[in-house]
Symmetry: C2
Subunit: 240 residues, 2 copies
DNA sequence: GCCTCCATGTAATGCGTTACATGATTCC
DNA sequence: GGAATCATGTAACGCATTACATGGAGGC
């Protein structure tokens, strides 16, 4: 996947590995990121596959740089990937994971967590807004784009704006929810634990969950190996 | 990181690896995901580290199952991780990456891409709304929570709702943008390429970019090794 | 007869992060 | 004098995905 991010950047302009990292870190490309230790070998791999070509620039007062440019084959590979999209929902957000278990935290810790997130996302939002203003100052209203190569980045910028705004607002909302709950919560509350499995996506959970009447089961400590083999069914594999 | 998702699920209830995958796939836990081939070894690792403990359940008409339960040490590890949050902005969204290079696509392909995403996210949103309704039907208004262990999942559900709504709306907005542009675009348009590096986050790009006046440079094809060594500076390392 | 579910795993491969190393230059 | 910038890399490790394997139970 990283390869396509590299090809996309190089499609626009030849760059060095170092340049590419700058763009990942600081430019309008908020939709991807990578470390140098990943970028350099990937660039070399792409050159071996003839999707990129490199030039060496000799510099006198700085280390020499290797500038990569996209090839015809690279453009073709990029275009082919670009069309063949399929949408996946594989969220990974570690703040959300922490919030998922907020009932195990002291109220103050939970609030601190959300307040931190709120601040961080608000700052990010401000950054994006500043970028947008910069662009509008340079190129006027976004309707009249000077160049179609800016279209994609601007759409992505708008996504970033909406995302950060959404995140910030959600943090505020969640904090309010916590406040309304008052001091009821606390670490390791002793309420009975609900089985959240019931709260599943309907289309997948619709198949009625059978009461498992034939699941006659015995419990043993896995660490205790002294289970008589006669008790085990020979019909199923015994792995545990 | 996966370890904490596992610990969080097992904090609520002992489960097998298979159960855990169900929850990743279909339950309220939209904030993380993993494949079985990753889950099983991770569970065993956590048991070796004494954060989990396993029991074996013998079944007669089905394969036996290994049920994992969290230990005191596991709870401690989870709680320690939960508090020590730091916010990162490491976005990786391959649809967005494709959209970033939308100017290289035929207009119809770009529209198809966004329309696909719009539909997918609208469906997801509908799923989440159905889950919310299910919960409200069972437990009434969300203000009066029957159990604090539901609080985290509900906050996450709300995040998911807002995220999918945002994504769907952005797709619609972007499609409109494309429509307004009319037939102007096309594959490989020949406008001059802008250097997007200038559109950087202000706080990091504020340091004025110097005009590089002392960067006197020569170009050589990296594939041609016949560069006279005399031309190279001995002051810098020669790597390329 | 084929498909999906239950339940577990191995093996191979690929992707990603962290730490470490080099060394002149230039800014504060 | 110390930190950051430019520019490249290696090594070690950890995380993640894909394909493959097993084998009975039950549904269409």
């Amino acid at each position: 996947m990283l390869r396509y991010a590299l090809l996309e950047l190089l499609r626009r302009k030849p760059l060095t590995g170092y340049d590419i990292r700058q763009r990942f870190q600081q430019s309008v490309m908020f939709c991807w990121h990578a470390h140098l230790a990943q970028i350099y070998p990937e660039l070399r791999r792409l050159e071996r596959e003839a999707l990129l070509r490199s030039k060496c620039e000799i510099q006198t007062h700085r280390p020499n740089r290797t500038i990569y440019a996209i090839t015809r084959r690279g453009r073709e590979a990029l275009a082919a990937w670009q069309k063949a999209a399929l949408i996946r929902f594989e969220m990974k957000d570690d703040l959300l994971l922490r919030v998922y278990g907020i009932d195990a935290m002291a109220a103050a810790d939970g609030e601190a967590l959300l307040a931190l997130a709120a601040r961080a996302h608000a700052e990010r939002l401000a950054t994006y807004e500043a970028i947008k203003e910069q662009i509008e100052a340079r190129y006027g209203v976004l309707r009249a784009l000077p160049n179609d190569s800016l279209l994609g980045p601007l759409l992505c910028l708008e996504w970033g704006l909406r995302y950060e705004r959404m995140y910030r607002d959600w943090c505020a909302w969640a904090l309010q929810r916590l406040a309304e709950r008052g001091g009821r919560g606390g670490p390791n509350g002793s309420q009975p634990t609900l089985d959240l499995y019931g709260l599943a996506a309907p289309e997948r959970a619709s198949r009625a969950r059978r009461p498992l009447h034939e699941r006659r089961q015995q419990h043993h400590d896995a660490k205790e190996p002294g289970i008589s083999p006669a008790k085990r069914s020979r019909k199923t594999r015994e792995r545990c």
